[in-house]
């Protein structure tokens, strides 16, 4: 029995290989190629060895729990159908890597190419073996992303960038729809497990949500498989390197859509909606793709449209809902992958050897590359559906199916005719490909003189064409049993009796084939001369380009509509923005609370503490005053804000949250200094702005009204929340277990560093990121014109100093600050002690790493205040970034420490340690975690404050330059 762990390897190896390849030096072309090839071959080997475990509808499953209570698990599941796809993905992947070794130019950065290709292979492999439908959607998006990167591989090329972006936009949007569809599917079935979903066909089809689910899933599948009307991204993706096209656009990526349709065929098909939507998309794609393919001049363009058409064929087959049609669809997927991959590679060789892919310039190449030409001819014949080749077999099955009546309707009636016409078109473009490129007069004006490619470059094509031939001549012996395995795994008991033999006697499908073949030849004869000179694209539809429409829509959505939205909703000014946000919040609150009045407890004013009430009066008055002054007196507003904050802190203490009060007080102080630092660099007030007058009053009155409603509403909500008795919550648990589990009596701190330590870790990471971002942004900050010079106070004081004979510049400052600066410097030691005190007792009493960190930062800040930036930095090297780094490391290392002794991440350990002279000291491993928090907070706070403070150092440097420049300009004007 094949072990299910191999499945992890099957999906994981390509990703691992991708990572290893990406780590190689960029010039190691051969090593990258060998590594990628070895990985692909290893996966191929694993896939082959799995065969005996998936026959007769057997399934290999491997499940790793992910988020079990949400029904998410990393389930890998290999059945016959997935096995068949795995063979295609890994086998053709290995061939493509071999081919790319010779195809890629020495100038291309191939390490990136192989890394991306392997990653794509992993994503595709993951997609086919996903046993959880959400996981499937995840891998689906991964294939979209890697295909985007692969199509845009030559990113210096505009067409490649555009094609990649279009492919990503369309398949990515489809992927989002698919995810939504999968979630709906999961809701209907009650499980995201693929096996459960596949057994709930009746439930799904009977559900009210069936139609939206179907539409969403189809949106995903049809975009991915480039079905009409989403087909236009595929031809534009041809800007990719040819190995990418051979891999993604024949065997894998575009097959994902039809794979999905087949995967969910047992549960979604068989309804009218399925038949009409899928059938319409499939039939129109089949016809349009084949028709457009005839008129392409680019070899790869022709192949791209032909791929679209063949995918349409598969989709049509799947739409019919009969098991026989599903068999034909699966069979055709394999056949198409083999002949189309080989054709793409042949086109790549022609491009490589002749220097062009334009069929109007290529001619008579047979004499230059006879072997490649022969191979391409066989593959094209398979594509056209010539007997004794694999394409013929599946096409016959297709014809036979179209003749059956499925659902009496116009669509059903026209199907055989459309199928025959499309088949004739396929013959036409196949002949055109072969005839124009390989026959006729020898081309003389080619950029290069073509000759046969290296033997190993041709080998992948030879193998694939051999497969076409073998399957075409002895289908039963070659592919019969494997196809049967795949079919049984999809259809189960519904597997019909089918025959793979080449000869079924003279019947209608054969007649259709003959008509198509002859019709195609006649059509080619008729069109031949026209095709030699016509413009690219089919006659009538030439102007109707999907690409243009797509670009128009994109421009409309991302440019025009965005502009409109910005004009109506956005604003460059802060105040209207705030107004919008606050009004929206009020409306949302009212909407949510409407009709919930009965839930509200009675408002009571009994038991008021008169002291607190008086202080609130002060605080509330200051809050209103801050708002009132904010417009015209920034400094006054800041002072008012400080008082409002202070009263808030007192309230916290009063309402028995001393820990919160302590922290908030510290934050309050730092914030005041921070805003003051920023105040210096705000643009000066424009005196032109009117301060009084009717409209100003009206505007301010309206804003006041909005503010009062928002504030009162918030207060009311908070009051109701606090007055409502809470049901038993997690908070009670924390209160009860803080000491027994976390070893601390300060519940807030125990929650922060122990119970919810992981949250805290995330928060401090965010803090570090914010601090670094502020630092990085301020490095480039240049103050506005009007305040880039020294503040007038400093200018006046400096002037006074320089006029007095016995004074030096800066002495006024020194005199004024003589006493305060000594105090501030000496306070450093005391503040450090305070920080240590807050830190050490934090686990049991108010304090903790965060409060201690802020206190310590204030200590540093005071030194800057007292002595100025230069003075401090000459004496004290504070390295905030190192503090941040140490903090992150300490916190993470504490968490990892618990892993080494076999407990989950961030489990804390607690004991009493005997310290001489002090006695038993409570020590918890959480203390080290808290040390990390402390260090990080110090680093982040100091980094931000110092970054702003450094602006004053920077600005004077810019000033003399400009003064000199101005003077020079004036002098020049004078002379």
């Amino acid at each position: 029995m094949w072990s299910s762990e191999w499945l992890i390897l099957l999906v994981g190896l390509p990703f691992l290989g991708s990572l290893l390849t990406a780590l190689l030096p960029s010039h190691s072309r051969s090593a990258a190629n060998w590594l990628a090839g070895a990985m692909a071959l290893a996966c191929f080997g694993i896939a082959i060895s799995a065969y005996s475990s998936v026959t007769d509808g057997m399934v290999v499953r491997h499940q790793v729990e992910w988020v079990p209570h949400l029904g998410l698990s990393l389930t890998l599941r290999l059945d016959g159908f997935a096995w068949m796809f795995s063979m295609l993905i890994t086998g053709i992947g290995a061939l493509v890597i071999l081919y790319a070794r010779y195809y890629m130019s020495p100038k291309d950065p191939v390490v990136r190419f192989y890394a991306l290709l392997l990653a794509f292979m992993g994503a595709m492999q993951g997609l086919v073996v996903s046993g959880n439908i959400i996981l499937l959607a995840v891998f689906w998006e991964l294939t979209s992303i890697f295909s985007f990167l692969l199509i845009g591989y030559w990113h210096h090329n505009q067409a490649a960038r555009d094609g990649a972006r279009m492919a990503l936009t369309i398949t990515g949007a489809g992927g989002l729809c698919l995810l939504a569809g999968m979630v709906l599917l999961g809701q209907i079935v009650g499980s995201y497990d693929l096996d459960v979903v596949l057994q709930s066909g009746d439930l799904i089809r009977a559900s009210d949500l069936y139609l939206p689910t179907l539409l969403l899933i189809l949106a995903g599948a049809l975009t991915k498989s480039a079905q009409f009307p989403f087909h236009f991204w595929l031809p534009n993706a041809m800007a990719a390197p040819t190995p990418v096209s051979a891999y993604l656009h024949s065997a894998t990526m575009v097959k994902a859509g039809v794979f999905l349709l087949t995967r969910f065929w047992p549960v979604l098909s068989g309804t009218d909606a399925w038949f009409f939507i899928v059938g319409f998309a499939g039939l129109s794609t089949l016809l349009i793709g084949a028709y457009f393919a005839i008129f392409q001049h680019d070899l790869k363009g022709l192949l791209a449209y032909s791929t679209i058409s063949h995918l349409g064929l598969v989709t049509t087959l799947l739409s019919l809902g009969s098991p026989l049609a599903a068999v034909a669809a699966i069979f055709h997927m394999v056949n198409h992958a083999t002949f189309k991959a080989s054709l793409f590679m042949a086109a790549g060789i022609i491009d490589h050897e002749a220097g062009t892919r334009d069929m109007r310039r290529l001619s008579g190449l047979f004499s230059f590359l006879p072997i490649t030409a022969t191979l391409a001819m066989v593959a094209s014949a398979a594509m056209a559906g010539v007997p004794l080749l694999n394409g013929f077999l599946s096409k016959e099955m297709f014809f036979a199916e179209t003749l059956e009546q499925h659902r009496a309707s116009v669509l059903d009636t026209v199907t055989p005719y459309v199928a025959t016409i499309a088949a004739a078109f396929a013959v036409t473009y196949s002949i055109r490909l072969i005839h124009t490129v390989f026959f006729g007069p020898r081309a003389s004006d080619l950029p290069k003189v073509p000759h046969e490619p290296p033997r190993w470059m041709r080998l992948p094509i030879e193998l694939l064409v051999l497969a076409c031939l073998v399957v075409g001549t002895i289908p039963g012996l070659s592919i019969g049993s494997y196809l049967d395995t795949a079919v049984v795994s999809v259809l189960g008991d519904a597997t019909p009796v089918y025959s793979l033999s080449i000869w079924h006697g003279f019947n209608l499908p054969l007649a259709m084939s003959i008509v198509a073949l002859l019709g195609g030849i006649v059509l080619y004869m008729a069109l031949k001369s026209y095709l030699d000179w016509c413009e690219e694209g089919p006659p009538i539809f030439r102007r109707l380009k999907g690409q243009r429409i797509f670009e128009r829509i994109l421009v409309a959505v991302s440019w025009r509509w965005a502009r409109v939205a910005e004009r109506f909703l956005g604003t460059r000014r802060l105040q209207p923005q705030l107004r919008l946000i606050v009004v929206a919040a009020i409306l949302a609150g009212v909407w949510a609370m409407w009709g919930a009045r009965h839930l509200a407890p009675q408002l009571t004013i009994s038991g008021v503490d008169p002291v607190l009430a008086m202080m609130w009066l002060v605080g509330g008055g200051c809050a209103v005053a801050a708002a009132y002054q904010a417009k015209f007196h920034r400094l006054a507003a800041l002072i008012f804000l400080g008082v409002a904050g202070l009263v808030t802190c007192i309230t916290f203490v009063w309402l028995s949250a001393p820990d919160l009060g302590v922290t908030q007080l510290l934050v309050e102080i730092v914030t005041t200094v921070l805003i003051l630092l920023g105040l210096r660099w705000l643009p000066k007030r424009d005196d032109q702005i009117e301060r009084h007058g009717f409209w100003v009053r009206l505007r301010r009155g309206r804003d006041f009204f909005i503010a009062v409603i928002a504030g009162a509403g918030m207060a009311l909500l908070a009051y109701y929340m606090m007055m409502t008795p809470l049901p038993p919550s997690v908070g009670d648990y924390y209160l009860q277990h803080a000491y027994s589990e976390g070893g601390g009596t300060n519940v807030v701190n125990v929650i922060l560093v122990d119970f919810r330590g992981f949250d805290t870790l995330g928060e401090i990471v965010v803090l570090a990121v914010v601090a670094l971002t502020v630092f990085a942004l301020l490095r480039r900050f240049r103050p506005a014109e009007d305040n880039s010079e020294l503040p007038y106070q400093q200018r006046e004081q400096n002037e006074y100093d320089s006029i007095q004979r016995d004074r030096e510049v800066g002495e006024t400052l020194k005199d004024y600050l003589l006493v305060p600066s000594v105090i501030m410097r000496w306070m450093f030691a005391a503040i450090t002690l305070l920080a240590a005190y807050l830190f050490l007792r934090g686990h049991d009493l108010p304090g903790g790493g965060f409060a201690a960190g802020v206190a310590m930062a204030i200590g540093f800040l005071l030194q800057y205040l007292a002595g100025g930036t230069r003075w401090v930095e000459e004496r004290l090297r504070i390295r905030p970034v190192q503090w941040i780094g140490f903090g992150l490391l300490a916190a993470t290392a504490t968490g990892l420490g618990s892993l080494t002794v076999g407990y989950p991440f961030l489990t804390s350990y607690f004991q009493y340690t005997e310290v001489p002279f002090i006695g038993g000291v409570p020590t918890a491993s959480a203390l080290f975690f808290d040390l990390g928090v402390f260090s990080l907070v110090v680093g982040a706070t100091v980094l931000m404050l110092v970054a702003i403070a450094h602006q004053s150092l920077r600005a004077p440097k810019a000033r003399p330059d400009r003064a000199v420049a101005e003077r020079a300009a004036v002098e020049q004007g004078e002379s």
């Binding site: 008082v643 003051l676 503040p791 007038y792 009493l845 204030i858």
Partner: protein, 93 residues
Amino acid sequence: MSVVILTVAVWFSQIILALAMMLVAYRLFIGPRAQDRILALDMLYVCAMLQLLVFGVRTGNAIFFEAALIIGMLGFVATVSLAKFLMRGEVIE
């Protein structure tokens, strides 16, 4: 008897302190100069510190001491930086 005295004293001082805060707030509101407002803010910090200490006495709980300690040790930072801003036009040179 001493309990009554203590209770009355605590209440009295709390009310007086709160009244002081309101009076200071009045200065804060009318200004007129920025210096007045900064002094008022400093005064409010001091009152708040005392208020917290008295509150600790009233509840017989030492847990409120830290908040008062922090105001006492660090409350002046806001005042100093505001004053420096007034004097020099920027806080850190």
